[in-house]
């Protein structure tokens, strides 16, 4: 049983003549602990695929199974439950609440759980310490650098103990050094915590950090290959991510 299984998944927007095909007949399997990148040019459908994988959107046709269970027909509440317990997200622009402190941002997934304040605090500080941002817990996102903000977003993704992390252009808003540190961090999380990570990117260098590269073009999977390249080599002689 695969962790994720997409069977002939298609996604359309609009109707009749204005119908747009965002994804078409996607067949895909993801196993536990994989580190995958989904690549493709703008408008290729990679973000739509990520939305479907993250239960933020539903397929128009086809079936999405998560941990062997079909998600077809699940209501908003059940999909919310999956987003809270099984899947977490990291975005290019961090998706942090500006009026909330680092602590409160990381706390967000735990608000839907029946945990005592002490338990929540312990969970949050464990992640903040792991990512080296525990001293920043009172700060607000606007007081942090891009790298620090992305670490907060990762801490929020980890605090929920979700098995899957979906990252949409996670290094897009970071400089080269910080981007590399972030990818190393994601690699470490993948290796040490056996988290399944799926990164959407249009950047080859980011994709080289992952063990499998899925290329999408015009809503279809163009290639799905294992990647054996040493990521450390990727950044040699590059000026930008």
């Amino acid at each position: 049983m695969s962790l994720i299984e997409l069977n002939s998944v298609s996604k359309f927007y609009g109707r009749d003549e204005s119908k747009t095909v965002a994804l078409e007949s996607i067949q895909m399997k993801v196993e536990v602990g994989e580190f995958i990148s989904i690549m493709g040019p703008s408008g290729s459908g990679k973000s739509t695929l990520l939305n479907i994988l993250g239960c933020m959107d539903v397929p128009s046709v086809g079936e999405y199974s998560l941990k062997g269970r079909s998600l077809k027909g699940l209501d908003h509440k059940e999909l919310s439950h999956i987003r809270n317990k099984v899947i977490s997200f990291v975005f290019q622009h961090f998706a942090l609440l500006k009026n909330y402190s680092v602590y409160e941002n990381v706390e967000l997934p735990l608000l839907n759980r029946k945990l005592s304040t002490k338990e929540k605090r312990e969970k949050i500080f464990t992640q903040l310490e792991k990512l080296g941002i525990n001293k920043l817990y009172k700060k607000h996102p606007t007081q942090l650098s891009g790298g620090q903000q992305q670490r907060v977003a990762i801490a929020r993704a980890l605090v929920s103990d979700a098995e899957i992390i979906l990252a949409d252009e996670p290094t897009g808003a970071l400089d080269q050094k910080t981007g590399r540190e972030l990818l190393e961090l994601l690699s470490a999380i993948n290796e040490n915590e056996r988290k399944t990570i799926i990164v959407v990117t249009h950047d080859d260098k980011v994709a080289q950090y992952t063990s499998r590269i899925i290329s999408i073009n015009d809503g279809r999977i163009a290639a799905d290959v294992a990647n054996s390249e040493n990521p450390q080599d990727v950044f040699k002689n590059t000026s930008n991510l």
Binding site: L50, M56, D57, S80, F91, Q92, F94, N112, S160, D168
Partner: protein, 425 residues
């Protein structure tokens, strides 16, 4: 708790808009709750007449004498008119009442009595004069209409009103003084030295018309008052003027109303007394009609104001949704349900309306409390901010919240989670 924290945070973020909406809502709700109180006061009066007035309202007629004359001639005319009405075969009797204050020598130093009076008058201007007792003087005709009930001793009899026969004026005591007075107790008026004798105690919760305006104001509770026929000193023109507005006669049959009214008007004209006869039923109906007009006006004004506030609230909440789209998207991304997000929107509207309704109710409460101190509890009883009024305020706030949240929640439902988070394109 978490939801409330988020709601208050959102309100605080747009504090000026929230404050303005709060102010607008408070004014609208203040007016709506005032209309509710006004409606209550009409119902209150109707219920009071049903409960405490035992006579037929169609046969009990209020005879009002409108005269500024304070000469001896007025006194004579007043008595002549009263005698004329009293002797009419269609009339059961005529009489007036008047509420005054007096103190009794025997009670002025009675510690138990003074303590009791302090308790009764607490919070009113009367608490400074605990020895002063309210005294309801009645004439025979009105005593008959009142149909007072006694729990101990005896009731008034016709002979009690014939002052040529008695030195001791009989007195009925309110139920509150049972521990202080007894049947047979003799009391001496501190000012006039007139002696009174307690002949009985009124039943608990006995009530009679207000001394000021028997239709518009609540009935006067007689538990802490004394009731007795008028004494000799109450016969000057000034005293008669005071009771000429509180004169009632009872018809044997309602069909005689017009003929009796006409006969009284003719006689009064001959005595140079401008009079007006109107049944209790008609006066109550006129009060209801007047009140209804006032209620309609308040309801219309408050509804228009409420509608404007509703539009304001809807537009503020719509812009809140636009401004917080990303926040809601992030919350949905981490597993918050759309229902919870809707609850946050509805909750914010509900908190605003509930706060406004609370402020409006508190303003009304303190306003009425102030009235109570000024009017020594007379007004408050009828226009009180009762549990029903408070429940109405909560109900209004709830309905308002539902109406105001409908469009914003519809707008929110149209948003897709994927388009709410800025990071997903």
């Amino acid at each position: 708790m978490q939801a409330l924290k988020i709601i208050f945070k959102s309100m605080f973020k747009k504090k000026i808009a929230s404050l303005l909406i709060l102010l607008q809502l408070t004014i609208s709700l203040y007016m709506l709750i005032t209309a509710v109180i006004q409606m209550n006061s009409t119902n209150f009066q109707e219920k009071q007449f049903e409960k405490h007035f035992n006579k037929d309202m169609e046969t009990t007629v209020h005879l009002s004498i409108q005269s500024n004359d304070s000469s001896e001639r007025y006194t004579k005319s007043y008595h002549d008119l009263q005698a004329f009405v009293n002797n009419m075969p269609e009339v059961n009797g005529i009489g007036a009442y008047d509420l005054t204050n007096t103190s009794f020598k025997e009670l002025e130093t009675n510690e138990a009595f003074l303590q009791l009076r302090k308790k009764i008058t607490e919070g009113t201007f009367k608490e400074r004069f605990p020895q002063a007792l309210e005294f309801l003087n009645v004439e025979a005709g009105v005593a008959k209409i009142m149909e007072l009930k006694v729990s101990e001793g005896r009731n008034f009899v016709t002979a009690d009103f014939d002052r040529s026969e008695i030195d001791l004026i009989p007195l009925l005591s309110g139920a509150a003084y049972k521990e202080i007075l007894q049947v047979g107790t003799i009391l001496t008026d501190s000012n006039t030295n007139q002696k009174y004798q307690v002949v009985g105690f009124l039943a608990d919760n006995s009530r009679w018309f207000s001394d000021s305006d028997y239709i518009r104001l609540p009935f006067t509770g007689l538990d802490d008052k004394l009731v007795a026929p008028f004494s000799y000193v109450d016969e000057d023109a000034l005293a008669l003027h005071a009771r000429s507005k509180k004169l009632f006669y009872e018809l044997k049959d309602a069909k005689d109303l017009e003929s009796v009214k006409n006969a009284i008007t003719v006689k009064a004209k001959a005595l140079n007394l401008p009079v007006q006869s109107i049944t209790v039923a008609d006066e109550l109906a006129a009060f209801k009609k007047d009140n209804q007009k006032e209620i309609t006006f308040i309801v219309v004004v408050s509804s228009v104001l409420g509608l404007m506030t509703l539009f304001g609230l809807v537009s503020v909440m719509l812009s809140t949704i636009v401004a917080r789209k990303r926040e809601f998207g992030i919350r949905i991304m981490v597993g918050t349900t759309m229902r919870y997000i809707q609850l946050l929107i509805w909750g914010e509207i509900f908190v605003l309306t509930t706060l406004s309704s609370l402020i409006a109710t508190l303003i009304l409460y303190f306003q009425k409390k102030n009235d109570q101190q000024e009017w020594a509890g007379v007004v408050n009883e009828m226009n009180d901010v009762t549990i029903e009024v408070m429940l109405s305020a909560v109900a209004i706030a709830f309905v308002f919240s539902l109406l105001a949240s409908f469009i914003p929640i519809m707008r929110l439902r149209k948003l897709q989670p994927r388009e709410m988070v800025g990071g997903i394109d």
